[in-house]
């Protein structure tokens, strides 16, 4: 009979635990794996310096973070979504439908996206956006005609590049990094090679042409990586010809294994990114649910701590790790103090 007693007590224990769990005293964050390192640094420092418990930071990608953010208001939804791109219109709409109306957008700084390969691999040292587009676009311009991408080696379209098989590991579509890669590299390259003009001449509307430009070839030369940069790194380790897309901070942490290529003649570094010389950079954000401020203890304090000069400023720990400090940090700070939601209305 002890089993009956055991199971009853176990059920009672569970029920008890569940009822006491109603009030959450911890900030919950989820989203971009690019922002995750920074968020975890801030969360650790926040726990060490304040009397609030350390926030929980989960990974998963910008899109999945924002999706969870938009599930609704309440203690079993997350308070903050990290994103390596700005929130999209349709996400704002989805949020509003679930009752998440006042969203505070916080820009924490900038991050560079770099193209890196094995230290001992082919000499991928200098790229132009056009090279990347010619290598990875699904339709490219060859001899004045738009054709399915015929290039097998980098040297096929640019004699300056090594005669090595094209093999690229790019972030999957759930990553915010992918969007930046599409906008700042593929689209630029598409325009630079004249492919976009040729597509529009062929009767495509501008939007369709843009969509065609950012379409990546599907014949195996380009591989979508849905995991973190460590997965990309492992793929690069196994493929001497491979080239991977990394965040600047990740690359800097693994410089003994990777060499970086310049983009448009500029080497990526915190300096070139902050001046805007290095073309492929993007702002990093997090989004705060205004309805949770005052309900979840420490939420507002965490948000303002995140963008405080001591943390996100040029001499703070985030810069030391690889974030490019935002020159307009003080405006972000004021916006958090005033709890100004997106779109200006309140």
């Amino acid at each position: 009979m002890s089993f009956v007693k055991l199971s009853t007590s176990a059920l009672a224990l569970t029920a008890m635990a569940a009822t006491t769990a109603v009030a959450r005293d911890q900030v919950q964050v989820a989203g971009s794996s690019t922002v995750l390192p920074y968020a975890s640094i801030v969360a650790e420092a926040f726990g060490e310096n304040f009397d609030f418990p350390t926030p929980v930071v989960e990974s998963g990608g910008s899109s999945s973070g924002l999706k969870r953010f938009c599930e609704g208001v309440g203690e079993n939804t997350i308070d903050i979504a990290n994103a390596s791109r700005a929130i999209r219109e349709k996400e704002i709409k989805a949020c509003a439908e679930a009752g998440v109306t006042d969203i505070i957008e916080v820009r924490i700084g900038y991050d560079g996206i770099v193209f890196a390969s094995q230290t001992n691999g082919p000499a991928y040292t200098a790229f132009q956006p056009a090279d990347i587009f010619n290598a990875l676009g699904s339709k490219v311009l060859v001899d004045g005609a738009i054709v399915d991408n015929p290039h097998a080696q980098w040297a096929d379209f640019n004699a300056d590049l090594p005669a090595a098989d094209i093999m690229a590991f790019i972030p999957g579509t759930k990553h915010g990094t992918r969007e930046v890669f599409e906008d700042k590299v593929l689209l630029e390259g598409c325009e630079a090679t004249g492919a976009m003009a040729a597509m529009m001449e062929a009767g495509m509307s501008e939007d369709d042409a843009e969509d065609a430009c950012i379409d990546v070839r599907q014949d195996g030369a380009s591989v979508d990586i849905d995991g973190d940069y460590t997965e990309t790194l492992a793929r690069i380790d196994a493929n001497p010809n491979g080239i991977g897309i990394f965040g600047l901070a990740f690359f800097e942490n693994n410089q003994d294994k990777l060499k970086v290529a310049t983009m448009g003649g500029v080497a990526p570094s915190t300096e070139t990114i902050s001046t805007g010389e290095y073309p492929v950079s993007r702002p990093l954000f997090f989004y705060v649910k205004k309805a949770h401020i005052g309900v979840i203890p420490g939420l507002k304090e965490f948000a303002s701590f995140f963008v405080a000069d001591e943390i996100a400023g040029p001499d703070g720990p985030l810069s030391a790790y690889g974030l490019v400090a935002d020159p307009e940090l003080s405006e972000t700070q004021t916006a958090i103090e005033a709890e100004t939601p997106m779109g200006g209305g309140s």
Binding site: L36, E44, E58, N76, E310, I311
Partner: protein, 443 residues
């Protein structure tokens, strides 16, 4: 048993002897020898993989158990304490005080190497939090010299344990080649050196810029509370279900259907249980995210079929004569089960349970979906109930998290975590073997 030799009259021409084998016997014997060789080769390959696995785990993971530490004694004045506490980033202030104290001591020793505060900053890790929490707990030590052993930065740690050499070092703001001269000088002076990394076993997770402060302790506790939930739910439910199905339930289409479903459930990928857990326990029932309670519930679902199947097998192994004897002396059906059959089946049930628990302990996939992967295992639960409801991670989830961080120091920590996880699993399986050996009855 060659039949040729047994019937000599039928084939008088064929001379066969027990001493000389005929062709067929040789062929059969050769086949047997070959089969044995295949078997041995298969075992050898298996062992080879095992050895390869263990050496690679130990080689990559053992460095996580040692830690390069900076051994230094310095005094924090009341004034410094008050200033630091008035700042927003208090730990950063303590870090500065520490770096200044170290520079002054190095100056006083007259080291032969040129250095600046930035170099020291790169060599020491992130000790601000440790120093602050020490002085908050021991305010009476302010103003007196205190000796600290503080973790050095992960790059310096890598230099000491061979993960990185002077040749592979690329100058960066994390560590410069010139810093290594200073590190060597510090080692000669006895300020920097190796020590056993207790923090790795007892500590909590740390931020990505502080691999030296990372520990598995909190997630071990998270795993422990999850296993408590699994044990106290799946054992009674599983045993009750099996007893009913095995001893009481009528054999009909319904029970057949249930049986088939239980076997099928045992084969369902664990990620499916994670999705179920997210939908039912978190979104519908409103349980807290990242809580070991939810993790335990999900793993209970996963473990239940394993326990039911093994319990039913051990119940069925109890000979019917025992039941008959009990019924014969007037016991009720229930008495015969609980007084006689169940105690005899107990070793098998416990073995099955422990193996089910070990399986659940190493499971990561369902935890991905209920928020236990990420920067979670930062704090120990304060109360017993809090152990179930406070956000925490689990050992395999923590290992996964570390493996995906940029700093190579964390990769090493992930391997170290694997060693600890393996120790737990080996212990549990050993207990299961001992139980089986000790209490198993044969009829």
């Amino acid at each position: 048993m060659t039949d040729a030799s047994m019937t000599p009259t039928d084939a008088p021409k064929k001379k066969s002897s027990l001493m000389a084998q005929d062709a067929r016997t040789r062929k059969r014997n050769a086949a047997e020898t070959r089969f044995r060789m295949y078997g041995m080769a298969a075992i050898a390959v298996g062992l080879l993989f095992l050895v390869f696995l263990f050496t690679s785990i130990l080689r990559s993971g053992l460095p996580a158990f040692t830690q390069t530490v900076v051994d230094i004694e310095f005094t924090l004045t009341q004034e410094q304490f008050d200033t630091a506490e008035s700042k927003m980033l208090k730990t950063g202030e303590y870090q500065k005080i520490f770096v200044n104290a170290l520079s002054e001591q190095l100056d006083a020793r007259g080291l032969d190497v040129a250095f600046d505060a930035k170099a020291i900053q790169r060599i020491v890790g992130k000790p601000g939090g440790t120093i602050r929490s020490f002085f908050l707990e021991n305010p009476d030590r302010i103003g007196t010299p205190v000796s600290f052993e503080l973790a050095a930065s992960s790059r310096v740690d890598g230099y000491f344990n061979g993960r990185m050499t002077r040749d592979t070092l690329v100058d960066s703001r994390f560590l410069m080649a010139t810093d290594l001269d200073l590190v060597d000088a510090l080692e000669e002076a006895g300020i920097i050196g190796g020590a056993f990394n207790w923090n790795f076993i007892t500590g909590t997770d740390s931020g990505v810029d502080n691999p030296g402060g990372a520990g598995l302790g909190a997630s071990v506790i998270g795993s422990f509370f999850m296993m408590l939930v699994v044990l106290f739910l799946s054992l009674p439910i599983g045993v009750a279900a099996s007893i009913y199905l095995e001893e009481f339930a009528p054999k009909n289409r319904w029970t057949d259907l249930i049986e088939v479903n239980i076997s099928n459930l045992a084969a369902v990928p664990s990620i499916v249980f994670g999705i179920l857990g997210l939908a039912v326990f978190i979104q519908f029932a409103g349980f807290p995210q990242s809580a070991p309670l939810v993790g335990g519930l999900v793993l209970t679902l996963m473990t239940l079929p394993t326990i039911i199947i093994s319990t039913r097998a051990s119940l069925a192994a109890v000979p019917p004569s025992i039941r008959d004897a009990a019924l014969g002396v007037g016991a009720s059906k229930m008495q015969s089960v609980f007084h006689h059959v169940l105690p005899l089946a107990m070793p098998g049930i416990l073995t099955g349970t422990i193996i089910g628990l070990a399986q659940a302990l190493g499971e990561t996939a369902p935890l991905l979906l209920i928020g236990m992967v990420g920067f979670v295992a930062r704090e120990y639960p304060e109360t017993f109930v809090g152990g179930f409801t406070d956000a925490n991670s689990a050992m395999p989830a923590q290992i996964y998290t570390w493996a995906s961080r940029a700093d190579p120091g964390f990769y090493e920590k992930a391997w170290g975590g694997i060693i600890i996880l393996l120790l737990f699993l080996i212990t549990m399986n050993a207990i299961a073997v001992v139980l089986r050996r000790r209490f198993e009855r044969r009829w």
